[in-house]
């Protein structure tokens, strides 16, 4: 593997890892808070927004997503768009499913693994 290829794939994996970290942290934060409709019924829309914005996992997750946005711009500047965009999208979806199973203890059954594989392949074909 040439150093250029290694460079490009490291950038792709880094961007995907940031996206997975962001989405899993946001999901963990929201699971911790519970149904937002219940919170809104109890303390109003601003109470719900406040509960979300003061949840540490949500805030760190959102920062990961913001950082992911800039890392993506960097990755796209060194890699071919037609490689980087589908690769990042696919790896993010697969990483999300694995991380959701390990860290969020989601019951990822056969049906969801199949959906993850289909989504990963589908976005690889569409994200260019």
């Amino acid at each position: 593997m040439s150093s250029q290829t290694l460079h490009v794939w490291s950038a792709i994996l880094f961007v995907a890892a940031l996206a997975v970290a962001g989405e899993v942290l946001i999901a963990a934060g929201m699971r911790q808070l519970g149904d937002l409709d219940d919170i809104r019924a109890h303390s109003g829309i601003f109470g719900a927004i406040w509960a979300v914005l003061t949840n540490p996992k949500f805030v760190i997750g959102a920062l990961c997503m913001a950082f992911n946005f800039f890392a993506m711009l960097f990755a796209l500047s060194i890699a071919d768009l037609s490689l980087a965009a589908p690769a990042i999208a696919s790896i993010t979806y697969i990483g999300n499913a694995i991380a959701a199973k390990i860290f969020l203890r989601e019951k990822v059954d056969k049906r969801r693994w199949l959906a993850t594989a289909f989504v990963a392949l589908g976005v690889a074909l569409l994200a260019r």
């Binding site: 999901a27 993850t116 989504v119």
Partner: protein
């Protein structure tokens, strides 16, 4: 695991499918009108805020993030994921029927795969319940 979604929860999932893709399209159309922004022309970003396409795109993307966050408060990440992927299908279909672009066979295959994925997940439960963990989390977090 819970299976029943209310109509308003279905509406949130449909909003996730539509807002991200339409928001991205509006933003890229608006930025196309504004021109290329680089480190020497950061002033253009201020200018971009007065472009109606950019404004509409930002509003839709904020809406997307709100809907996505709300959905994760009552559904699993692996349940919501295919809905976010459906945005790619919406963009491809907008290109086909609104901009009259030709879609290659591989793009049609991609659309088919994501539609199937949504079908697989939609037929199953939306949320993994693990009460003891949730209660532990709630005790620490609030």
């Amino acid at each position: 695991m819970k299976n029943k979604l209310t109509p308003s929860q279905y509406a949130v999932l449909i909003a996730i499918m539509l807002t991200a893709s339409v928001g991205d399209s509006l933003l890229s159309r608006g930025m196309g009108q504004v021109g290329q922004v680089d480190i020497h022309h950061l002033g253009l970003l201020w200018h971009a805020l007065f472009n109606p396409f950019v404004d509409a795109g930002i509003v839709l993307l904020i809406g997307f993030f709100a809907c996505y966050t709300a959905a994760l408060s009552w559904a699993d990440l692996t349940f919501v994921m295919p809905a976010t992927a459906f945005g790619y299908v919406v963009i491809a279909l907008l290109g086909r029927f609104w901009l009259h672009e030709q879609l290659s066979l591989s793009r049609w295959a991609g659309i088919g795969l994501i539609v199937c994925a949504v079908g697989f997940v939609a037929g199953g439960p939306s949320r993994t319940e693990h009460h003891e963990l949730d209660q532990m989390d709630a005790g620490v977090g609030r």
